[in-house]
Amino acid sequence: MTTRSYAGVSVGDELPPLTVVLTRENLVRYAGASLDFNKIHWDDKTAAEAGLPDVIAHGMLTMALVARVVTDWAGDPGALMTYRTKFTRPVIVPNDGVGATVELTGRVTEKDDTERTVRVELTAKFEGKTVLGRPMAVVRLLS
């Protein structure tokens, strides 16, 4: 694994995109791993009572998926200094064996030569619409 060099990064660089399919099984695994057992993420009846068309993915799972766009590009996940997002739209995950396709992208929008940090603005889309509000990360690169 190589760590990306600060000098080689330019504002406007597009990060390699990722496409991830989330199934109901992924949501159950994430519930267990993250200790978030809110039934809205695995129980049809609870989702319907909440007025949702179906079970929805954990916002934090989508946030974890987008982080990978940055950490795969940076080389070392330990380079992440700041990471934040709003959760604006749910990712609907029907129990149909097909799941939901989430498309993830990132772009360099700022470089700070003093701190050697790079700001990356991200997007996560489901059915062509963004599901996260202004997700962004700051990474510190070495050389």
């Binding site: 694994m1 760590t3 991830v20 992924n26 695994r29 994430y30 267990g32 791993a33 993250s34 200790l35 978030d36 954990h58 916002g59 934090m60 799972l61 946030m63 974890a64 998926l65 982080a67 990978r68 950490t71 795969d72 080389g75 070392d76 996940p77 330990g78 992440l80 200094m81 700041t82 990471y83 934040r84 997002t85 709003k86 959760f87 509000g133």
Partner: protein
Amino acid sequence: MALDQSFIGRTYPPSPPYEVGVEKIREFADAIGDPNPVYRDIEAARAAGHPTVIAPPTFVITIINNQAINMLEADDELGLNWRQVVHGEQSFTYHRPIVAGDELRLSAVIENIMSRAGNDFVLVRTDVTSVSGEPVCVGTTTLVARGTA
């Protein structure tokens, strides 16, 4: 009824130490579908300059869920209606990556409560430190209680 703003500043005592297990990190990395070897293989982690395997950046939410969010949920005085609560916003500031074997403490404070368009917004800051007090990560979670204000 809107939440009582006098709960702004309410603190929750530091949790008992949470020990970060190497298999819990692997389980989390598997659950988010991230194959990065630094989350699983000690040699890969060392090659990247870490003492041992590190946790994915959003792993800390497991500790926040386990310790802070559960404390708020159990706080009857606060009176947040959990059936209406969704996650509105999340931010993390990392001082260093979480590594396998870390013993971490978490303390939480309600930084703000506000009502807007019929919803209550509760902003919770969580400070994650080592047991010796070294800062590791600061999280800010915005919870939205829909239709309760």
